[in-house]
Structures are given as structure tokens and as C-alpha cells.
């Protein structure tokens, strides 16, 4: 064990001051030190994407980033998508289009899709499938996820 570092993770607008070992992943820190368990861990190899969160506007694999690297950065997780009772269009679209079954990969897909569409609202269908192929889902067969993200893209453009 090495000495712990004091850092502040800003998650969904709220600061969490925590002490972590330098080796602690951002995913573990978000879940265990900050208690935000909506972000899931599926492989810890950066492959499945279940742990995707948005850091300073970019979707990242939180299992591949150390918590200390995220010190002071703006982190968004699934818990911060809805505004009070108002769902984010992406959440609504996943429900409307049956874009989830067991729900384990869902937070990662939501954050991936939101992060990409905020950056590139006019993304082409081909590029969208490219991006969505970053994450794994074992239940849905992806077609409904793609439909949901396209529907949400339209809603998000309406603002």
C-alpha cells in the first residue's frame, strides 16, 4: 500500500473530498468512496464501457483513469442526467425504444451517447454506430439502443 492522496472529485456538481491510493481507479472512487453506484464495472480492462462517465465533457472509461487524474475535474455520471423529475431525453428514449434489458450496461451507454451527441449533434449514422460499438451490451442486440440514441439526438437538437 502506498500513501493516500487527498483529492476532490466534482461529481454532478457536488464536491467529494476523499483520500485515495494513487492506484485507485476513478470507477472505484466514484462507486466506493463517493457512493455513486450507478456507474458499473464490467471488465476493468477498458473494453466493455459499462463504467463510461463524462469527464470535462468527454466520455471516458472510468476504469482506465486513476481517481487522482480526475482531481478537480468535472465528472458527470448517470445519476446527474435527469434534472429533478425531468428525465434527460436519452433516458426517456432508452425507455421508449426498449434500449435496455438487465440495465447493467445502460449507464455506460447513456453517458457515452450523451457525451458524443453533446460534442457532435449532427453525427452521421455510420459514425454513430462506430461510437456505440465502443461499449458492450449482452441483452439487447444493439438495434434498440441505436434507435433510442437516434431518437434522443433529435430531441436534444430541439433543446
Amino acid at each position: 500500500m502506498s500513501q493516500k492522496a487527498a483529492i476532490t472529485l466534482n461529481i454532478n456538481g457536488r464536491g467529494h473530498t476523499i483520500e485515495v491510493e494513487p492506484r485507485r481507479t476513478l470507477a472505484d472512487a466514484i462507486r466506493e468512496d463517493c457512493g455513486q453506484t450507478g456507474t458499473h464495472i464490467g471488465c476493468e480492462h477498458g473494453i466493455c464501457g459499462a463504467c463510461t462517465v463524462i469527464v470535462n465533457g468527454e466520455p471516458v472509461r472510468s476504469c482506465l483513469m486513476f481517481a487522482v487524474q480526475a482531481d478537480g475535474k468535472k465528472i458527470r455520471t448517470v445519476e446527474g442526467l435527469a434534472q429533478g423529475d425531468r428525465l434527460h431525453p436519452m433516458q426517456q428514449a432508452f425507455m421508449d425504444h426498449h434500449g435496455l434489458q438487465c440495465g447493467f450496461c445502460t449507464p455506460g451507454f447513456l453517458m457515452l451517447a450523451v457525451g458524443v451527441l453533446e460534442r457532435e449533434p449532427d453525427i452521421s449514422d455510420e459514425d454513430l454506430i462506430d461510437v456505440l460499438s465502443s461499449n458492450l451490451c449482452r441483452c439487447t442486440g444493439y438495434q434498440n439502443i441505436i434507435k433510442a440514441v437516434r431518437a434522443a439526438a433529435k430531441e436534444m437538437q430541439k433543446g
Partner: protein
């Protein structure tokens, strides 16, 4: 559900694609998965680095807490039992005891205050193992002189199923043509996105343990762990919280959960283990590692008259609990003839023990492999008879019901031919053939492949009893309570984990008792709250739990009507339940169901002793089973330079009886097809010659991504099942069953100019290139 269920202005809920009641929590990150809870102690397992050997010693760094088999005296071995088929019961110690039998087998448990600390200690544990010869391949394990994996299973055969119909030889000998397939299915891992995990908490006040774990069958997990530890079931509560996919892998008992419960009892504290992906890939459970040699005897008219199968299933190092390793070979033997009419059948089905990870059921179990084999046989037979692949299926598909198979299974009414014709029409075969010819002229190789299959679903205890299972699952119980506020709770023994059963069961209840699905909560996955049941697997829950739900809901309905007839002074026949009201038909007399519910508890004197207090009813259901069916069509584009296969399009014509929620039903088919495409082209657990595993990350073991799954077009026929009181058939596994066959038939069709035969899955680029190279080399 009943024909008169929603007379009046009410909405019928069954058949509607309503949004799922499960979703609001899951899309908000408020799902509760096993790994979400903190614990005082964390466990990491030390796993065997060798495929076979004598375990001499385990030494841990000073001060570390480590548990080995020596500490677990009195804990029984996991020993599932079959009373048929020459089954050899082999026991699996929850931690390796004196011997290790596969790479990844749990040898010791290290306990520390955090996962990281436990993992650091695991790295410093030294194992002393005298390595012995191992065998990973099932055919090699059958060789004389192969290493013996268990002393109890001589020759490494743990189970042997044999069948031969009386007129087999005569029919075989007089056949016009024999067509043969040597099929190979490589090993898969079901790969749920959430790996397994167990979290056990000791309650000082009662001495009870609560085990939260990622399981498909909480009650049987309780029974099994209590049997192994020798404790009363009342001392253990098992909770299956949100479970991140199971696909069969989570219906078998992991020894790790037993260790976690044992530790929580010993430490009188909370103890947790979260499986990591590497552990899941090497040591959870594997499936589908099979060799099938199938020969079909055809008459002059290309009618299949006899079928001969030799089935070898690599069941790994132990027998999985509760199904036993019989689940693959015996299902393959029983269901091999599939959707085709053939009354003469000979089969030898063997379960073979090897030094590999234990086999357990995975979505579809053996049927993806038998369907792949049988559908390859049909395509080869079509070639042998110079027939179109569709024509040969037309000549052989079952079309009279009920149909009794050569194995004695009764097929209820289905639409094998109709779904084939529906698919053929929808895909427009002539247009495809034209496009195929044009593409070939330009050096592009497109192909089309068909698969027709039957999917036995919703089967109750007799089907499991036929396998001779000591633990014979089958029935389900549902208890429905309308509480004094008028809200409805259905407690079920099934344990859904993504299938949307909370929604579909609520739809069934809503139609019976005239309230909206939002007023109905389905409670599952907690042995303290739900009645004993078998869980969710084998495409059974909507049929069996749905049937039990309907029975209980009908009883609630009857009672509500009786109460309303008292209060409204009307005949029971005149009362309808709709829109949350009990109404007297044709009048404006009505009483709210919430009021009836309240009075069932608080005003029982008003019913003159004619109703029992409260509003709780129970339904049990144990059906014979029903066959869903479908025709799958794949169109592929094979790059002959690289061997890469792109699935361009996938089409399904499916009949799963009455559909309760079309959105959920389609979702099940989509997901199954994606897994089937993975099975056909991508996913393979690879062992090297020393039993080492080469695919221990998701960068090596390849579930499909959004890139690999094409648009899926679905067509439905709804043939109501007479073997299911809701008229619904199961459909959880169909996608995985048909897709590999359709895709591989399409690959073979694409490559027909090369004269290759690809009868192995997954058909990876390497295998496709090798087949083309070999064909080019051939004289």
C-alpha cells in the same frame, strides 16, 4: 386475459407494447446490483495456475487470513445427481481439496479489509502443486490412455445416453441416400455484462445470514448452500437483487458463494466477493464445447427417414449444480430431430470430463449446436439431391399436430412451414439470387442461409424428471395480495433479470382484476418475500410463472366480484371489473376496487361470513411444455481475401404463441440473435495444449458490438398454445438457437463457388481463409 376480462370501456393490457416498469430505476442509475453494497471483509480467490495436479501445500504471507479446504471440514462437496444414463456422480469441493482439475479452479480464499489488499495478498500466496498430465479436448479425453480426470469416471465418460428406435436398422439399410455432417462447436462463455458476485451479512440478533448474489435461482441457491453447510434453510436468506444478465451462467451454483456464506458465519460480519472479468472468463462456467456427427438417411424424394447422431459434450472438470452435466448431452439427444418429421432415430450422447472449466447451461443449451448441425445436414442434403434448400425443408418439416417425436416428445401446434414460407416471401429470394449473381461477377461473395427450428419452452417437472434429476424443477407459485390501499403485490418464485417479467405479469393481472399495471408490483428474488420457486431459465418464466399468475389473479377476480355482488346487490354474473371499478353491467352502479380491497380487511362483517378475510390468493402451475418455432434468414457478405463475414441483414419469422408485450418479445429475439451471431462468427474460449486459457479478456473473447449486428426484421405468427393457460409460449432462447445455423448456411452459400464446407463454429476469418486455401489446393 379471460375473454370477458375487460368488458366495458377498459383497456386490454395483454398484447400491448407498454413501457417496462423496471426501467425508471435502471435508467437513473438507481438499480441495485450485488457489487453496490459495502462490506467489512473482501474475498479474493487464489486460483490454480495449472490444469491438473496434486495440491501439496498453500502458503500465505504471515498475518494474512486465508481459507483452504482444510478449514472447510464438514462442508460437503457439490455433487448434483442424475439417476439415469449411467451417470457417475463426481463431487466438487468448494475449494480444491488435494487435487486441481482446471486452470482457474478456486484453491484458497484470501480475506482482507479491501479488495485491493486481498488481491495483493493473493499475489504473494505460494501454491505447491505437483503438475500431472491433463487433457482439454473431449475427443482426446476419450482416447485409451488419456489422463483420468476423476477416478469415479473411468475413461472420462461421466454420462452416456443411448437410444435406438425399433425399425431404425431396416429403415437405414433401405435408404436412398445417406448425408453426413461432422460438426464442431467451440467453447463459449455466456458473458453476462455483470460478472458474478456474492455479499453475505451476518445478523447478530438472529444468527441469520443474508446472501445477496447475482443468481437466476435464489431459492435453490439457499437450498444448496444450506445442504452443503448443514444448516437450516431458515438461517439463510438469499436475495437476487438486480442481476446484470445471466443467460444460464448464473443458474448454476458457484462454490465461491458457499465460501462467502461460510466466512460471514465464521467472522460474524459482512463478507463480499465480486468476480472480475478474468475470473468470469476462465472460471465461471463454459458451454457448447461439442462434437456432433450427424447422418441423415433420405428416401428417393429427399424425405428424411432416419437420423443417426453421435454427440460428444465436453463438460469440463465437474458437474454443474443443479442441472448436472447431463443438461447438454441429454437435451441434444432429446431434441435433435428438431422441427423435422423423422421417426427412426439412433443416438449416442456422451458427457466427457476434461481439465477445463465446468460446463453449465447457456441460453439455448445444446439447441444452437443441434440446430446448426441439423441445418447443415439439410443444406448438404439439398445439394446431394440438387434441390433448393427451401424445398428440402418443405418436404420434411412437421405439419400435423400434435406430433409425437421419435423421442416421445409431444409437439403442440406450431407453424414450421408457415414461418418458413413467411420468411422466404419477406426476404425475396429471387431478388437476392439476382443480386448475388451480380455481386459474384464483380468478385463479391454474398450468401443467404436459412434455419428452421423448434424451441421447447415452458416445460414443467415431467420434462426434468425424464432426465432422472434428483432435483426436479418445473412448477412455479405466485401469491397475489391486494392490500388495504388497493395496491396489488404479486410475489413470484421466478427470478427475472432483464426479461421484463415485472411488466408482463402486471399486464396479465391488470386484465384480470381491472386495474392499471402501475398499481401492480411484482416482487421476486428474495427468499424471505417470494414463495419457493425455481427461478428464471429455460424460457419458462412467462409461461409457468405467467400461468401461476393468471390462476392467482382469477381467484382474486372471483373474490372481488363476489364482494361487489354483496355490496351492489347484484348477481355475480352481472359484475365487471374495469377501470379500477367493479360495475354492474348496463347500470351506473359501481364500487371502486380500492374500496373492495379496504373492506376485505376492515369491513368483513358486511359479507355475512361468505368471504374469508383479506385479499390474498395463490396460484401454482406445472405445465407439460410447449414448442415455439421460427425461421431465421441471414444474408452475409464474405470477404474471401480476409475471411471477414459481414452479416448484412437478419430476418425472423417467429411463432411464440400469444404475445403479452410485443416490445419485450422482440427485445428477447434481438438479444438472442446477437448472441447467436457471436456464436457463429466471433466467440471462442481457447485452451492451449497444456490446458492454459488464451482468451481471458474481452479483447480476446469477443462478444459482438453494435458493428456486428445488422438490422433485424421480425415477423410474427401467434398460434395460441393449448399447453399454456395464458396461450403464450416461451421465446427467451430462440434467437440464439437459430442464428448460428442461418449465418453459417449463408457463409457456405456465399462460398459455394469455392466448393468449401464450413461445419465449425465460430467461423472465424482464420477458419474461413483456411477452408478457401484448402479448397484451392485440392486437385
Amino acid at each position: 386475459m379471460s375473454a370477458h376480462g375487460t368488458r366495458g370501456s377498459g383497456i386490454t393490457w395483454v398484447g400491448r407494447a407498454i413501457r417496462r416498469l423496471e426501467d425508471p430505476a435502471l435508467i437513473a442509475g438507481q438499480g441495485r446490483f450485488t457489487a453496490d453494497s459495502p462490506a467489512a471483509h473482501w474475498v479474493r480467490f487464489v486460483r490454480s495456475p495449472v490444469a491438473a495436479g496434486k495440491l501439496r501445500n498453500v502458503s500465505a504471507p504471515a498475518g494474512a487470513m486465508i481459507v483452504t479446504a482444510a478449514d472447510l471440514k464438514g462442508v460437503k462437496k457439490i455433487t448434483p445427481m442424475l439417476h439415469k444414463f449411467n451417470y457417475k456422480p463426481v463431487g466438487q469441493p468448494v475449494l480444491a481439496d488435494g487435487a486441481v482439475r482446471f486452470i482457474g479452479e478456486a484453491v484458497a480464499a484470501v480475506v482482507a479489509a479491501s479488495e485491493e489488499e486481498a488481491e495483493d495478498i493473493v499475489d504473494r500466496v505460494e501454491l505447491s502443486i505437483d503438475e500431472t498430465a491433463s487433457v482439454a479436448d473431449a475427443r482426446a479425453a476419450l482416447d485409451a490412455g488419456a489422463p483420468q480426470v476423476h477416478a469415479e469416471a473411468v475413461g472420462n465418460v461421466i454420462l452416456e445416453g443411448k437410444v435406438k428406435t425399433p425399425d431404425f436398422d431396416a429403415t437405414w439399410n433401405s435408404a436412398h441416400k445417406i448425408v453426413k455432417v461432422d460438426a464442431r462447436s467451440r467453447r463459449q462463455n455466456a458473458t453476462p455484462m455483470e460478472p458474478r458476485g456474492g455479499h453475505a451479512v451476518y445478523d447478530a440478533a438472529t444468527g441469520r445470514i443474508t446472501l445477496t448474489c447475482s443468481t437466476q435461482m435464489p431459492h435453490l441457491t439457499r437450498t444448496a448452500i444450506c445442504d452443503l453447510l448443514g444448516i437450516p434453510e431458515s438461517d439463510l436468506r438469499v436475495i437476487a437483487p438486480d442481476v446484470g444478465g445471466g443467460f444460464g451462467q448464473k443458474m448454476s451454483l458457484p462454490g465461491e458463494y458457499v465460501v462467502v456464506v461460510w466466512l460471514a458465519r465464521k467472522l460474524k460480519s459482512s463478507v463480499a466477493w465480486t468476480e472480475d472479468r478474468r475470473e468470469n472468463l476462465i472460471a465461471a462456467f463454459h458451454s457448447r464445447d461439442q462434437y456432433i456427427t450427424l447422418e441423415g438417411a433420405f428416401d428417393k424424394n429427399a424425405k428424411l427417414v432416419a437420423l443417426k447422431a453421435d454427440i460428444i459434450c465436453n463438460i469440463g472438470a465437474y458437474s454443474c449444480f443443479p442441472t448436472t452435466c447431463g443438461v447438454e448431452p441429454l437435451m441434444a439427444m432429446a431434441e435433435m430431430p428438431g422441427p423435422y418429421d423423422v421417426q427412426q432415430y439412433q443416438c449416442l450422447a456422451r458427457g466427457v470430463i476434461t481439465n477445463t472449466c465446468t460446463m453449465a447451461p447457456y441460453r439455448g443449451v445444446s439447441r444452437p449446436v443441434i440446430t446448426f448441425t441439423l441445418e447443415r445436414l439439410m443444406d448438404k442434403a439439398a445439394r446431394a439431391f440438387a434441390l433448393d434448400p427451401i424445398d428440402i425443408r418443405r418436404r420434411n418439416l412437421i405439419d400435423k399436430f400434435p406430433y409425437k417425436s421419435a423421442m416421445g416428445l409431444e409437439y403442440d401446434e406450431a407453424t414450421y412451414k408457415e414461418t418458413l414460407e413467411m420468411a422466404v416471401k419477406a426476404i425475396d429470394v429471387p431478388a437476392f439470387r439476382k443480386r448475388q449473381a451480380q455481386a459474384r461477377a464483380k468478385g463479391r461473395y454474398l450468401g443467404i442461409g436459412f434455419a428452421t427450428f423448434s424451441e421447447r419452452t415452458g416445460y414443467g417437472s415431467p420434462a426434468f424428471a425424464a432426465r432422472g434429476m434428483e432435483i426436479t424443477p418445473g412448477w412455479e407459485t405466485v401469491i397475489i395480495t391486494v392490500d388495504p390501499s388497493g395496491f396489488v403485490e404479486a410475489r413470484i418464485g421466478s427470478s427475472p433479470h432483464g426479461q421484463g417479467l415485472r411488466t408482463t405479469l402486471a399486464q396479465i393481472i391488470a386484465d384480470e382484476i381491472g386495474v392499471t399495471p402501475e398499481m401492480i408490483k411484482v416482487v421476486h428474488g428474495d427468499t424471505d418475500r417470494a414463495p419457493y420457486g425455481w427461478g428464471t431459465f429455460a424460457s419458462r418464466s412467462l409461461v409457468i410463472s405467467g400461468g401461476a399468475t393468471l390462476i392467482a389473479a382469477q381467484k382474486i377476480r372471483t373474490k372481488l366480484i363476489k364482494m361487489a355482488s354483496h355490496l351492489l346487490e347484484a348477481a355475480t354474473d352481472d359484475i365487471v371489473l374495469t377501470d379500477g371499478m367493479a360495475k354492474v353491467a348496463g347500470t351506473d352502479k359501481a364500487v371502486a376496487i380500492t374500496k373492495l380491497a379496504r373492506e376485505a380487511y376492515t369491513q368483513t362483517h358486511r359479507f355475512k361470513g361468505e368471504i374469508e378475510p383479506g385479499l390474498t390468493e395463490t396460484g401454482h402451475y406445472d405445465p407439460p411444455g410447449t414448442f415455439s418455432n421460427a425461421c431465421h434468414v441471414a444474408i452475409v457478405d464474405v470477404d474471401v481475401e480476409t475471411g471477414y463475414v459481414k452479416v448484412e441483414k437478419f430476418l425472423v419469422a417467429e411463432d411464440a404463441g400469444r404475445i403479452i408485450n410485443p416490445m419485450i418479445a422482440d427485445g428477447q429475439v434481438h438479444g438472442g440473435i446477437a448472441q447467436g451471431i457471436g456464436n457463429a462468427l466471433l466467440e471462442e474460449i481457447i485452451y492451449d495444449e497444456s490446458g492454459g486459457i488464451l482468451t481471458a479478456t474481452l479483447a480476446d473473447y469477443l462478444p459482438p458490438t453494435a458493428h456486428e449486428i445488422p438490422p433485424i426484421e421480425l415477423h410474427h405468427i401467434e398460434t395460441p398454445s393449448t399447453n399454456s393457460i395464458t396461450k403464450a409460449k416461451g421465446l427467451g432462447e430462440g434467437g440464439t438457437i437459430g442464428a448460428p445455423a442461418a449465418v453459417i448456411n449463408a457463409v457456405n452459400d456465399a462460398l459455394s463457388p469455392f466448393g468449401v464446407d464450413i461445419d465449425e463454429i465460430p467461423a472465424t476469418p482464420q477458419r474461413i481463409r483456411a477452408a478457401i486455401r484448402n479448397a484451392e489446393k485440392a486437385p
